[in-house]
């Protein structure tokens, strides 16, 4: 146990780095995912095809492979590169974006066509239909799966620790190597920090899911 308290500072800085990865990776994934989802549901065929290809491509490639590209391949191609932390955020954001896009798309497609038809038939325009009828219904269906995507992202930030980013997993590995007699408390202690993020998020998702479930 003492190892945890003696290295509290190190663990805390690892935790902060994990939070930073989660925040910036999540924001990037949101932006990219929103863009791809918009393309995917647009009436323009070529944009739809591109968005589908993007989703299939990045959903079927392991995160570790993207990290391998960012950390070992990219430095051979360009002279000036940002630090590993930024590369890790880019990798996490690209990997997560198709999952965000799919959550958004299935939310919008989950709204029955009749809702939009009813809106149009009483004379609402495209913007009004979207903002007053479709989006309010889609958003409540989107939020729980979206939170699940971010829970997965939280856990995926640990991969960055295998590629020179000093976050929680990296801290755990370093501490465990330095204190061979206290491996169990170190790893369980670090796991608790991950649970500190994922369990509350899971509870929020379950709560919202219960609250916004619409009986149709």
């Amino acid at each position: 146990m003492n190892v945890l308290f003696e290295n509290a500072e190190l663990i805390l800085s690892g935790f902060l780095m994990t939070l930073r990865m989660l925040l910036f990776g999540g924001l990037g994934a949101m932006a990219l995912g929103l863009l791809v989802a918009t393309m995917r549901i647009s009436p323009v065929a070529s944009l739809r095809a591109f968005a589908t290809a993007y989703t299939e491509l990045f959903r079927n490639v392991p995160l570790t492979l993207i990290f391998l590209f960012m950390v070992f391949v990219l430095p051979l191609l360009t002279p000036d590169l940002p630090p590993y932390e930024v590369l890790a955020v880019i990798a996490l954001a690209t990997y997560t974006s198709p999952f965000v896009a799919e959550a958004l798309r299935s939310g919008i497609n989950g709204v029955p066509v009749g809702q939009a038809e009813a809106a149009r038939s009483i004379g609402l325009g495209f913007g009004q239909t979207l903002t007053l009828i479709v989006l309010p219904q889609a958003l409540r269906m989107v939020v729980p799966p979206l939170i699940n995507v971010f829970i997965a992202l939280t856990k995926n930030t640990s991969v960055a620790g295998g590629f020179f980013v000093g976050e929680l997993f990296f801290t755990a590995q370093t501490l465990a190597n330095a204190n061979g007699n206290a491996v169990i408390p170190i790893l369980i202690g670090v796991a608790c920090f991950y649970l500190l993020i994922t369990v509350p998020l899971g509870l929020v998702a379950a709560q919202i899911e219960k609250k916004v479930r619409v009986a149709r």
Binding site: A45, N60, P62, L68, F69, Q115, A116, G162
Partner: protein, 276 residues
């Protein structure tokens, strides 16, 4: 595919169709420009992060190792190691998922509460941390560490999906099973589980693809799977061939995962058609 009405827009008329065609063409041109830029970028001499200038990626000399059969033998062994860990992991995870789901739905609080706590614990932490834990604490060797962590983690997630599936069933199913004299356990196993399984098949298959991708975390804990093989080959032959080997790895992963995803979707469709 002809455009049809969706929740967002009506079936397009002639004016909207021609407009969408124009945007389509612009979009395609944009994509071609992007593709052209990528090819151009690979076809010019590369300047690395340390300032060294090397021949273009498309230079034939960069692809020479791929002519050696031994390289392909190693890559094949790596791919088999990935598939092996995934196969064992998938079977184990599905079996554990059934146990988890039954435990969480148990009528006895003595079983239900501990299983719930354990499930939440396993679901909330990274697989990678679990692999490290098993590797360091049980010193099982890398293969077992990867497989056990994948089984436990995905067993917890698949178990939750199965539980949701069982809960979504009509209550009459369970009552019918009990009323014809089956024990509660047999009702779960013979009546509820098969229906929950088919209902949740799309989610289960998606999670199995995640499991397959997560075998690549073996790279970090030192299991010699496909990615580790790729990295070792580029270390052996030199950075000059890094891009080549990485691309080979990416293509192999894509082919395997797309095939599994496709099989999963087909299975889900076939089951849905049978149920209808």
């Amino acid at each position: 595919m002809t455009a049809q009405a969706t929740v967002l827009y009506d079936a397009p008329g002639p004016k909207a169709r021609s407009r969408s065609r124009v945007i389509s063409v612009v979009g395609i041109l944009g994509l071609l420009a992007l593709l052209g830029w990528v090819i151009y970028r690979l076809a010019i001499p590369q300047i690395a992060a340390n300032g060294a200038e090397t021949p273009p990626i498309l230079d034939p000399t960069r692809w020479e190792p791929l002519l050696e059969p031994q390289v392909w033998q190693l890559i094949g062994e790596g791919a088999l190691a990935t598939l092996g860990a995934a196969a064992v992991g998938m079977v184990g995870a599905l079996i554990l998922a059934v146990l988890f789901a039954f435990g969480r739905l148990s009528s006895s609080a003595l079983i239900r509460v501990p299983v719930t706590v354990i499930l939440e614990f396993f679901r909330g932490m990274p697989v990678l941390l679990m692999m490290l834990f098993i590797l360091l604490v049980a010193s099982t060797g890398a293969f077992l560490a990867v497989v056990i962590a994948l089984v436990v983690y995905n067993g917890a997630i698949l178990g939750e999906a199965l539980r949701a599936g069982i809960l979504s069933l009509n209550r009459g199913q369970r009552e019918a099973g009990l009323s014809i004299g089956l024990t509660p356990t047999r009702t779960r196993l013979l009546i509820e589980l098969p229906q929950a399984f088919t209902q949740m098949l799309p989610i289960l298959m998606a999670q199995l693809v995640v499991l397959l991708k997560d075998t690549s975390l073996g790279y970090i804990v030192g299991y010699f799977e496909l990615l580790r093989t790729i990295k070792n080959l580029s270390t052996f032959f030199g950075n000059y061939y890094m891009f080549t080997f990485w691309l080979v790895g990416a293509v192999i992963y894509l082919v395997i995962n797309l095939a599994v995803s496709w099989l999963g979707r087909r299975a889900a469709r076939a089951v849905a058609a049978k149920r209808a």
